[in-house]
């Protein structure tokens, strides 16, 4: 029992990071209908930039974190302007492939600068585990979970009450109508890439604090797909729920497969088996718009 409780707690932490990455994905998809296969690489770039600032330039962690966020804003804008802007109106396969190309470029850039070995962040939070229900939990885990919750709160309020949040929702709903009401669609596209890059960087920095980073971090981006499909491609709440559920499911299923079937590494693939099942049963997910037509 304790074994499974531990798995669930680990799943919650990893899941909250999936949620953050999924949040970035959903924001881009919602506003621009672009499926971003480079979401994991955005996480990786954010993590490495913060790492470089703290370890290589000896900037205090908090300042480095803020600088990383500033970098992400510029980075998101640059990607949108240089790569995604020319793809407006192109067929879906071209848009998918351009984000795939972007992910390869980012990955090899990170490898050029920082190599492929694992890099570890300096300790920021205390190491002493906190006991929750008799189980030791590292403070980093709690910080990750709380930070994810806070970010989701902030973004829900942003979309509900601020001028730009409303403009983004309007653009997502109907681009032509939004444009004719005086909303600058191009700015909205740029803004959504900005937010996605910032959120992903935060996820990357949290991950770096948990178990270090290496150039394979981008694979995390693949886990976004089960999470957002479960939640619904265009739902923020779905991203939050989907990420956490997928994180817990893959840990528990993987642990169970190891205990009962002696099947190693099942964790890696469990999420994708769940994904196929969801696609067959309920392709628009739990909270997504029912836009799938039966063919």
């Amino acid at each position: 029992m304790e074994y499974y409780l531990q798995l669930i707690i680990n799943g919650l932490v990893v899941g909250s990071i999936y949620s953050l990455v999924a949040l970035g994905f959903v924001i881009i998809y919602k506003a621009t209908k672009v499926v971003n296969f480079a979401q994991g690489e955005l996480v990786m770039v954010g993590a490495y930039v913060c790492f470089a600032l703290t370890v290589q330039f000896h900037i205090p962690f908090l300042a480095a974190f803020l600088l990383t966020l500033a970098f992400s804003v510029v980075f998101g804008l640059a990607i949108e302007r240089a790569i995604l802007r020319p793809m407006v109106g192109e067929p879906i396969i071209s848009v998918i492939m351009i984000t795939v190309g972007l992910s390869t470029v980012l990955k090899s850039l990170v490898q050029l600068f920082w190599g492929t070995q694992i890099r570890v962040y300096p300790q920021v939070l205390p190491q002493q585990p906190v006991f929750i229900a008799g189980l030791p939990v590292s403070p980093v885990y709690i910080a990750a979970f709380v930070l994810a919750l806070v970010l989701f709160g902030v973004f829900s309020l942003f979309f509900k009450y601020t001028r730009y949040g409303v403009a983004m929702r309007a653009t997502a709903f109907d681009q032509t109508a939004a444009a004719s009401m005086g909303i600058g669609i191009k700015n909205i596209f740029a803004l959504s890439w900005c937010i996605a890059a910032v959120v992903s960087s935060i996820g990357g920095v949290i991950l770096g604090n948990i178990n270090g980073i290496n150039s394979q971090l981008g694979h995390l981006g693949l886990k976004v797909f089960p999470a957002v499909i479960l939640g619904g491609l265009d739902s923020l709440l779905g991203a939050a729920v989907g990420g956490v559920v997928i994180g817990v499911l893959e840990n528990v299923l993987g642990g169970a497969a190891k205990e009962w079937l002696n099947l190693g590494g099942f964790k890696e693939v469990a999420a994708f088996i769940v994904l196929v099942v969801i696609l067959m049963v309920r392709p628009y997910g739990l909270f997504g718009t029912h836009e799938i037509e039966r063919v």
Partner: protein, 348 residues
């Protein structure tokens, strides 16, 4: 059909020909002759690149039927090639001769492809892309963990192919063998595009509802597209396994699927000739970069190590640049080139 101005057909037979006119026939004959003679002038390394190109042509042409013609985006094609490779290795281990083994490998891959094509009944566009991505990752897991059949992470050895007692164990003989299958694949794909099936595929790609209204059975034709495309991918995989003589799960990852998609996009979606161009381009690209790195290493030693590390990045960059500046691919450029020489010295 695009034909030149001034070409008139006098019989259906003439119109049904793949190559129209004497010049086109001569051009293709000359191209084939150069290909056939090339192993005698090139060294073993270059011949091995040609073999890889032949295999890539088969896989790219097959993906082109599924994605280019039928519009079903597949991010799992590399895994279907892998299924063919593992099936061929397994059957050859069980003592099945090369040619029947090749056929069986194709059939196994076709069954796997059709199974993962079933979601296409309900999904399209991005949802289908994600479901084939899941297929890719699930199949990769199977390669790695079904140790009784695949040998797990240790991989498994494969024999050299032999037909009627002749063993293809040199690069040169392997080149001719793979060339035969590449030519067959190109012929098959060109002909599929001219049949009832090909027209149904294009109709589904262009508008699935209209296709259904004119009587195309969507589910059946989509499954046929998946099965046919995976069959050819399986054959490519089987040739790959027999050529490398040892297979592990690593090469059949998502990177392979992406490079096949890159081939048909860079070549030109939906055209068989474009898929061939793309296969050649993407296979040669890393080799060319390697040469560049070697050439530069004398003058700038650091540059070459960076270049070698950046091979993958250059692949991504090429993909991005093509999508932005030449979205219709190399095939489009080839047509412009031909038109230029037809009109020379006049600009229009």
């Amino acid at each position: 059909m695009q034909t030149k101005c001034g070409v008139f057909f006098e019989s259906y037979r003439e119109e049904a020909r793949l190559l129209v006119g004497g010049f086109q026939k001569t051009r293709f004959a000359a191209f084939l002759l150069v290909l056939l003679a090339s192993p005698w002038f090139l060294n073993n390394y270059h011949v091995s690149v040609l073999i890889l190109i032949n295999i890539a042509v088969i896989a790219a042409v097959s993906l082109n039927i599924l994605t280019g013609a039928c519009g079903q985006i597949s991010l799992g094609h590399g895994a279907f090639v892998g299924v063919g490779a593992y099936a061929a290795a397994y059957f050859s281990f069980q003592g099945v001769p090369f040619l029947p083994g090749l056929l069986l490998a194709g059939i196994v891959a076709a069954v796997a492809g059709a199974c993962f094509g079933i979601p296409s009944l309900r999904l399209k566009g991005i949802y289908l892309a994600i479901s084939t991505l899941a297929a890719q990752l699930i199949l990769e897991y199977v390669f790695l963990h079904w140790e009784a059949v695949t040998g797990g992470s240790n991989g498994m050895p494969v024999d050299s192919p032999s037909v009627l007692g002749f063993v293809f164990d040199t690069d040169r003989s392997m080149f001719y063998l793979t060339l035969i299958f590449a030519v067959l694949a190109v012929l098959a794909a060109s002909n599929v595009m001219r049949t009832r099936f090909g027209r149904a595929f294009v109709a589904i790609r262009d508008h699935h509802l209209s296709a259904e209204i004119v009587g195309v059975d969507l589910f059946r034709y989509k499954l046929v597209a998946f099965a046919l495309s995976s069959f050819m991918a399986g054959v490519a995989g089987a040739l790959w396994a027999h050529y490398t003589m040892y297979i592990t799960p690593e090469p059949f990852g998502i990177t392979l699927s992406i490079s096949y998609l890159a081939m048909i996009i860079i070549g030109g979606l939906g055209s068989v000739q474009g898929a061939v161009f793309g296969a050649i381009f993407i296979t040669i690209l890393p080799e060319a970069l390697g040469y560049l790195a070697d050439g530069l290493s004398g003058a700038f030693p650091e540059v070459s190590s960076y270049l070698l590390a950046a091979k993958e990045g250059v692949f991504g960059l090429v993909l991005v640049l093509f999508l932005i500046f030449e979205p219709e691919g190399l095939n489009h450029r080839w047509r412009l080139f031909k038109a230029y020489w037809k009109l020379y010295p006049f600009a229009h």
